[in-house]
Every structure is written in C-alpha cells, then in structure tokens.
Symmetry: C2
Subunit: 277 residues, 2 copies
C-alpha cells in the first residue's frame, strides 16, 4: 500500500496502531501543533536542537494540510493517534483532532527514526520492535535540550538493541539520514545518559536485549513533548509516541543538506518559473 492509501485507512479509523512497520522506505514524521503565539519559541527550540527536532515542514497558521512532505494530507485525521495537551498535561488521546483544531494553529513536522528502520532491515539488520510487533522504547535522559523561551526539558531518545559487531554499520547507515535524527547519540551503558531501567521506558514498550547486543540510542522527536509539559501552554496537539505521520517522501530523498531549505528553494524556483512563464 502507498502512503496515501495507508493515510486514507488511518483517516477512516481502520489503523490506530504504531506505524514502525508501515510503508518501509518512506519518511515518517513527528507532529507538533501549537497556537501561533508559541510558534516562534518552538521554531527556535527546533533550530537549537537539530538532532531531536529536524524540521521537515512548517504549515501556515490555521492550515491543517501539508504541502511539502505530502500533497494536501489532512493533519487532523491522517495520524493513527494523537495527544491533546492542556496546561502541560495530556487530556485526551483521540484518533482525530478536528474538534480541537483552531484558526491560529501552526503544525511542525519533524523527522523520525522509523525512516531508517526500513533501511536497516533492507541491509539484513533486524529491528527488534518491528520483529516483536511492539512500539519502539523511548526514554527521558539526563541530557538537557537547549532551551528556547518556555520550551525546555530533557532530550528523549529511542533505543534499538544492536549486535556488538554491527554497531559501526548501524551508526554509518543511520548517519546517512540526519533529517531522521541521523547517527546515534549514545551506545551502551544506559546509566551514562541517566536511564535507570532499560526495561521501563518512559514512552512506547520495552523490547528484549539479548546477550552480545548493545542498546543503541537515537535522539527522538518525542523531545518536544517533554518541552510542551514544561511550557504548560493552554493547548497543544502532538502525535501519540510511535503513531507517526507517514509522508510521501522516500527515505533516499532526505540527504545531508537542510531539508526545509532545499524544499523551499525548489518551491521558490517553481514560483520563479511560474512568474516568468
């Protein structure tokens, strides 16, 4: 099934599960939706924390439709599950946020590590949470994100167990996708980054760690959710951890350059051509 077809099934409520095993080879994205008055601070938060928050698209205030990562997808219905935040607390986890959306909402789409799970599997490297049919385990760390305005909090990481001899290969492969968090931020010893119990993730589900495997940690797009807690905004909407927006972009379309910039240069170029034509 194409991403568009999967998103249609999601919008009809037929898929409400985590998305790690859906549409391998396509870029997946974290969602953060905020009132415009908080958008500048959050955009700065992203620019100051590019590892957890690689910017793929920012929508115009009030506009719920994507135009860069997918043509005209409805961000209010085409994710399998959302979190609605009021004053820093989750007040609902609906599968549709149409009734919460207001005219001054700005949506941010940020790269997601699920993007390279398919790449790892194609290279013959098993991805444990996909193999076990679970959501990826995610942890709050003792590393502080760079603050911006009201947004501050811990770096959140996702974890994949990797056989020790494959760690360099996994670092290299994921490192090719900086707009999907890129190379790991930490390998081994969970305590070193403040994770007390690897079997009790703060988000998602625990997965088995086998002898000879290292836990490998990547910066995670749930980091903004920890910052939204701290910011205590009147209203915010995010995806539910692991329940991502599946884009129309192939993983290989994300390269080392800043993605937002590239796309905008392309849009700009199109506009120039239109103007001259």
């Amino acid at each position: 099934m194409s991403p568009a077809e999967v998103r249609r099934r999601i919008a009809r409520g037929e898929i409400t599960t985590p998305t790690a095993d859906l549409c391998p080879g396509y870029v997946q994205a974290n969602l953060v939706v905020l009132p415009k008055e908080a958008a500048f601070e959050f955009l700065l938060f992203c620019l100051r924390n590019p590892r957890p928050c690689p910017l793929l698209e920012v929508t115009e205030p009030g506009d719920p439709y994507t135009r860069v990562v997918a043509e005209g997808a409805d961000l209010r219905t085409e994710l399998p599950r959302y979190r609605v935040w009021q004053h820093g607390k989750v007040v609902a986890e609906p599968t549709d946020v149409t009734s919460w959306w207001t005219d001054d909402m700005v949506a941010f789409l940020l790269g997601c590590s699920f993007t390279f799970d398919g790449v790892l599997m194609q290279a013959g490297i098993g991805v444990r949470h996909v193999e076990m049919g679970r959501n990826v385990p995610m942890y709050r760390t003792k590393v502080e994100a760079a603050p911006a305005g009201r947004f501050r909090g811990p770096l959140v990481v996702s974890m994949r167990p990797v056989p020790r001899e494959l760690v360099p290969k996994v670092v290299e492969l994921s490192g090719r996708y900086p707009m999907a968090h890129g190379a790991p931020v930490h390998v081994g010893e969970p305590q070193a980054i403040g994770i007390r119990d690897i079997n009790r993730p703060d988000y998602g589900e625990a997965v088995e760690l086998r002898p000879g495997e290292e836990p490998v940690f990547w910066a995670c797009g749930v980091t903004p959710q920890a910052a939204i807690e701290a910011a205590g905004l009147e209203l915010a909407i995010t995806h539910a951890p692991g329940h991502m927006f599946i884009t129309d972009l192939k993983a290989e379309e994300l390269d080392r350059k800043a993605f937002l910039s590239q796309v905008c240069m392309q849009l700009q170029h199109k506009e120039e051509v239109n103007e001259q034509g």
Copy 2:
C-alpha cells in the same frame, strides 16, 4: 584592529561608514530587529530563503546583546548606521538605536557577502567597491523571495565586477561560504534578473564595470528590508545597507553545515558538561 576594538570605535561614533574594508577575514552580519509578534513569520522567511538569509544568531526577546557571533556586543550601538522603519517606511537613519529598542525586540543576525571579500583579495582578486572606497552596489531583482506571512518581496542582490577568466575561481571561492550567501545567484546580463540599469543601484553606490569584466550577483541580506517594506510593521530596525555588524568569528569558522545548528549543538554540549561537572 580587532573586531571588538572596531566595534568600540563604532559605538563611540568614530566610525559611521560602510564596513566592507574593515577587519578583513572576519565574518560580517546583516541585522534585522522586529517585535516578537512578527518573529515567527520572519524566522520562517529566513528558513525559506536561505541564500539571502543565512541565520547566524537569533537573540532572546528584549536582549540587545549577542552571545554566539560575539560575546556581549551591544546591537543598539555597535553598528555604524541603522535604519528605523515604521509602517514599512524608513523614518530615521541613526548611528544608535537605544531609544527605539523595546522589551519585546528580537534581533536576527544574517550572514553577509563582505565576509568573503577579504578571501577574494587574499587570492589576488580585486574587489571593486573596496578598491574605489565605495559601498557595494545592490539591486532589487524580478526574482520573488519565498513569502512567509506578511513578509514577501524581491530578492535583493549585491554585485561585484569580475574579469571573465576569473569567474569560475570567484564562484568556487565564494561558494565555500554558504553562510555568507555562498556562490553567486547570477553571472552577466543584468536584465535577465530584472535589473534595468547597472549604473543605478537601488542601495549602495555604483562601481566601474571594465571591458572584459562580467557583473556577478550574490543574494544579499538587504532582501529582508524589501520584505519589511511589504510587511508594514509598526516598528522595525535594520542596519543601513553596507553598514554591517562585524563579528568575532573568522571567515574560516563558517563551513558548509548549518551554522546556527552547529553553534547550538556546541552550546548544548557545554551545558551538558556543566550539568555533569
């Protein structure tokens, strides 16, 4: 003289001229100062127009001091000349904007092509506006910048005459500094980008174009000033064209990666170390 010493002389009112020939080898920057309510739209404008608007630093609302491109420089006094904008019109061109600064002002510092003028001269390539002791000529083009909210308008370019046989070398050398606008956006034929008379620049001063030379055009950090006209904000402050902020950074410290991201990663790393120490 070091950049800090030059900035001190500027703050004392001893230097009020364009800065192209000051502190060769150091990064110079364009300044845009806006009320916080317009900061999100302008930050998006920069991200959508990375060639004219490469982001070097964004300050906290109300804070007039730099911390990334120079330690504690006062943006209200350490540029040789400013423009104060009200409702899209220039209402003053003072050498000090302390009396205009408000508690919710956000300052944006954007890379400037003066940064590579020194590099060209070190490579034995003459830079005409420096040789003639003039401000660089700048032009509004028919190329539209990608709009963001109220910010829209033409791409503004600076021009340097280059002997035809040196064009590839100049493209290559300036292309090493994307955070200072990078490679040219156009070579030759001014009409192709909507410039009617090369001898009548829209900003700065005309320079001599000699037989065997091509006019070479770079994206320019005055582009936001054209967008500020269109936005018609109640109040905005910019540098006067050619009268830049001279940073403490050496040109070779700007490489191909996104600068803001790099610096923030470094700041973040420092904070991590402090926290653990």
